[in-house]
Chain length 359, copies 4
């Protein structure tokens, strides 16, 4: 136990949905967060339970009382003076609960896809009804897409964070410096040929529910492509990168590993470009952002370099022709792709260093 | 295509339950069986389907019509002149159907546990009712435990084969030469200390149903013990080895691999014994049985040596004290532990070499 | 044992290099090949050994004498009247031995990369010296690239087969119907944007030598891209598909599985194209070729569908815009990507059905 | 960054051998250790290098200078005022260096097997020469076996810690409460029948060197027994448990996973014993020891519960006869089986809570 001064600004958090894989990581990170020493999150679920039973790896990390899961109720949050609510819940539930949470003055960090998409049409993939309540639209307008490397300042002022999708995080972080530069400078990338993001993810991305495709016999020793042209994260990619539908082809694959995403992203430059210029562009964009690590060419990140870390790693390989660039982007889908990004957002909302409890 | 003479004695088989993992292997073996060229099995299930859809790896191995799955009916079997029925069905279903199948003159090879146990008390683990129909008891009396290395002659004359459990096959084949010799010779083994069988199995043993423990996230990178003191195969072990309950401790573990069983079996000799004597005992017992391979010490089999083969491999390691022996027994749970053992039994019932279609 | 007529045209084969993974599969296929019943291949290596020791899974599949590995010598081949030599050897060794083998009247099927490339410049990746012997060039001119679905007739007449690379097979089979049609019809594909082949392979492709990247701790739970812009198979792709260097981007990745390749191939059509037309193009190209299986959209093959099979599976997914097509191509790198393709070539050279011993 | 008071008692550590897997974990733990904020360990190796290059996952966790690996020299340690030396080196090197380190006044925590065994005969497995220098024998006499749950007080006073083997830790922690009670009370266990420890370990236990058995193609999808009757950890088991050679059979197996050990330990009681009594015995023995977690029956630990944690988990399953007990013991071989145990020992040597930096 480190000798820690009393936390000056007391905060109270609650987590709903810690049974899931991202929820488990969120619980682990918050239990060890230096600003929450002595103030563990209030864990809530459908019924009374214990995180020690659900996730044996968490046993002994905190007293049993701190690991208790309480049946969720707004009254409980009020009693415990909770000011920030983490939702690791299905998107339908997040969509339903957030208006009330905001109305009660809570700050919300939602790990689901419920509030990530500005355009109502894009939200169709989540099956939200055509005629949405005006209240929901008003709430949506307040949501900030919680990718701190893009929206740091807006996140710091937000009441509702839509924590990004794991695939989307890996692809947006790989592309944003280039698409941003393209707009600014009138066109670095040759978008006519389109960008291809060939992504591969571990099985935890598919959730805790036992299904045909999460069965060990299906996933082990296998690789399969899925969700072609219709994956839910496509809308986030379009909106955050400002790309039309035809400009980006995104293909997810299911890897026979528990966790980690590697996206191989293919872009074309309009003109012959030097590797130095590419690296400089990324170095400038991510200056001071410690959770994005840039690998100097010819080194490339791999899933092993990010597994169980809070980083997104980026590497670059330029064709001899100087026009074709391959970006390799890696992250742990449960951490920088979910739970540690949520903590990073929360740190910013609280005015702390964004890496607090993460490095 | 080999140049094959017309099959002299036409046989017609049907397989119920080819959706499962053992069923898939059984389908593959029978589709390639030299006695069934041009006479593929009739595959039956709950509803019309195609094995090509269920098991893409089987596509193209036979014409689509041969891979069709037909809704099961006794009439269909009659129409197609089926004489042998393979059941890769849940034990409840096998228990219910076999009396009718026998009454209709069919030979049955049942891969479930329904008919493996002579003693009614042992069958309690399968949840069969206390007051069993006399008809069932009469059928049970005709069932032969289908371990060809033990019961070759009875199998050749049987109408109903109870195909052994996968764990049970691996342990019985490792122990039977010693327990048989012990009885005959008045006591090779020191049974007072008990025998320990520490078994490890791949996930396919748990079946095709998606459950908490067959989820990739549960099984991958993991090892867990389960079913201590109450695994269903314990009854088979007792009955086939003639051991009392206290004489054998059997502990199954779930390995993070798709298929294969390795059993590490610990026995004690009453007196200092030479490795030569042990090897001679096994060589004599398994003489001419090509599907049991004996590894000369100090070589030991491993799961990789038997994966996707029809063999059970046995190896021996004697302590310097000459009293403690470790047997290592390996097989593929879906083959020698299920499907290829079923084919071996069928070969014997038909009077063919037991390895027909297996070597 | 099937009742087989005496083989009419006796053949004698030898295999050098059966210690490796592809060599092991070749040994297994030839030991069970119907034309070689009673005439097992002569296995050769650097020193006397036994396949039973090297590959325990092969034990018992043939008598020990048939599994013996003999020290290689030309005299031995002559003594045993070998007429066809399979080389599963490093490319340097294949390059050195083949001229002598041909001079001695042997037919050769070489699984290495030594003779795959017509253009001397392309061969630079194999480190062959700049000033090659004219003899080697003359031999090279006789080599036929052993992809039966492309070069069936030339293979049937060949004395030297250069068996294709595993990645190359998966990508060429996915693209050839389209590139062939493009040439014929004046341009189906929009090549200006380039084709992208994002390939993922199991670890067996890296060979038997223990290295940093074949270490379990490196490969397990991981995915890594490697060999960007410089993989050896790029030359085969260029030559066989008739594409310029800039037209194809090929990125190999190392999967945490033992075997299997999945290539996700991205192409663009010049004009909006119907899925039907794509499927018809492939159906026509592969008509009668049983080892290529076409999956009807929206079904896609995956590695599990081809693992331990002799097939290459192809599937198609067309973007809603009708211009972007994703092809998914799967095969087992040790089988259709190596050993079973070698047997397929041999079958054609012998005038037998190409699937003899493979289906 | 937590708000931490200046560390009162400054300590300086050095780590030799951080290239290995245990060394990597040790580096990670020490870089984050609260007593070493601002005082990162001095990493040493054969040549100048960077941990960021060797272990990409460590990049960004500390400034590049803190991750530098320096060529080892005693002068460097002196310059940097190092007081504690962690050795994650081969046992030959540890055996050679420790006398000098102690002579120079350093405290040493050695992760190798060099100093674990009191009896010279036991040390034969490490190949140490028969005629050992008297100096080495004198040093050996000072070594304390670093299992804090057994030797807490002696560790606190020690200058040289022999950090236990991973298998040994898992088995000793499972058995010591029973063997200790047996001695005290005149015999809880029936040792005549012997104890069996059937252990299974992930591949990291075999070290970083690429070998035949660490090749992915060997280990994946496989399970193999090895080192029967002669594993190096047998001596530790004998000495720490006070058991004769015949009383314990220890069989290691290689699991197809990166890390984690599960030992299934079989003991017999002299008399019918109640589960409560067993659980009470363990609860008393491990009272206040937070890094040993006891699972209430019928729950059993599994490798997933301890992977990447600093715990050793113990579970119990008693046969219906009350005489046969199965203990399941799990730990992460690189953490409680190596690196975090080293940190635990260091904490005790420094007079800090033993879980400092570990919980």
């Amino acid at each position: 136990m480190s000798t820690t001064l009393a936390v000056p600004n007391a905060v109270q958090t609650a987590v709903v949905g810690a049974r899931g894989y991202a929820g488990q990581e969120l619980a682990r990170l918050l239990l060890a967060h230096p600003r929450l020493r002595g103030l563990p999150p209030v864990f809530c679920g459908r019924e009374a339970d214990s995180l020690a039973a659900v996730h044996p790896a968490l046993r002994g990390l905190a007293p049993p009382s701190a690991l208790a899961v309480h049946p969720f109720s707004w009254e409980l949050l009020e009693e415990r003076a909770v000011d920030t609510l983490f939702l690791a819940t299905p998107h339908e539930q997040s969509r339903a609960w957030v208006p009330e949470a905001l109305a009660r003055g809570l700050r919300v960090i939602d790990l689901s896809g419920a509030w990530r998409l500005s355009h109502h049409a894009d939200r169709a993939v989540y099956g939200f009804p055509d005629s949405e309540a005006p209240e929901a639209a008003a709430v949506q307008a307040q949501a900030v897409y919680g990718l701190p490397e893009l929206h740091r300042d807006r996140i710091a002022r937000a009441r509702l964070i839509a924590n990004p999708g794991c695939y989307a995080t890996s692809i947006i972080l790989a592309l944003k410096p280039l698409t941003a530069a393209s707009t600014a400078a009138g066109g670095l990338l040759d978008l006519a040929c389109g960008i291809i993001a060939d992504s591969k993810s571990g099985v935890s991305g598919a959730g805790r529910e036992p299904t045909t495709t999460t069965h060990f016999m299906y996933a082990a020793n296998n690789l399969s492509a899925y969700g072609l042209w219709k994956h839910r994260h496509a809308g986030e990619l379009r909106e955050q990168l400002g790309l039309g539908d035809a400009a980006l082809t995104f293909t997810p694959h299911l890897l026979p590993i528990p966790r980690g995403i590697l996206s191989t992203v293919y872009v074309r430059f309009r003109e012959r470009t030097a590797l130095d210029a590419v690296e400089a562009c990324f170095a400038a964009f991510y200056q001071g952002r410690r959770l994005v690590r840039l690998f100097p060419a010819p080194e490339l990140p791999q899933i092993a370099s990010v597994e169980r870390t809070n980083f997104c790693d980026l590497g670059f390989s330029l064709a001899p022709d100087g026009q074709r660039l391959i970006l390799v982007s890696c992250l742990d889908n449960l951490l920088k792709g979910a739970a540690s990004q949520a903590v990073q957002n929360w740190n910013l909302m609280c005015g702390w260093p964004e890496t607090e409890g993460l490095l």
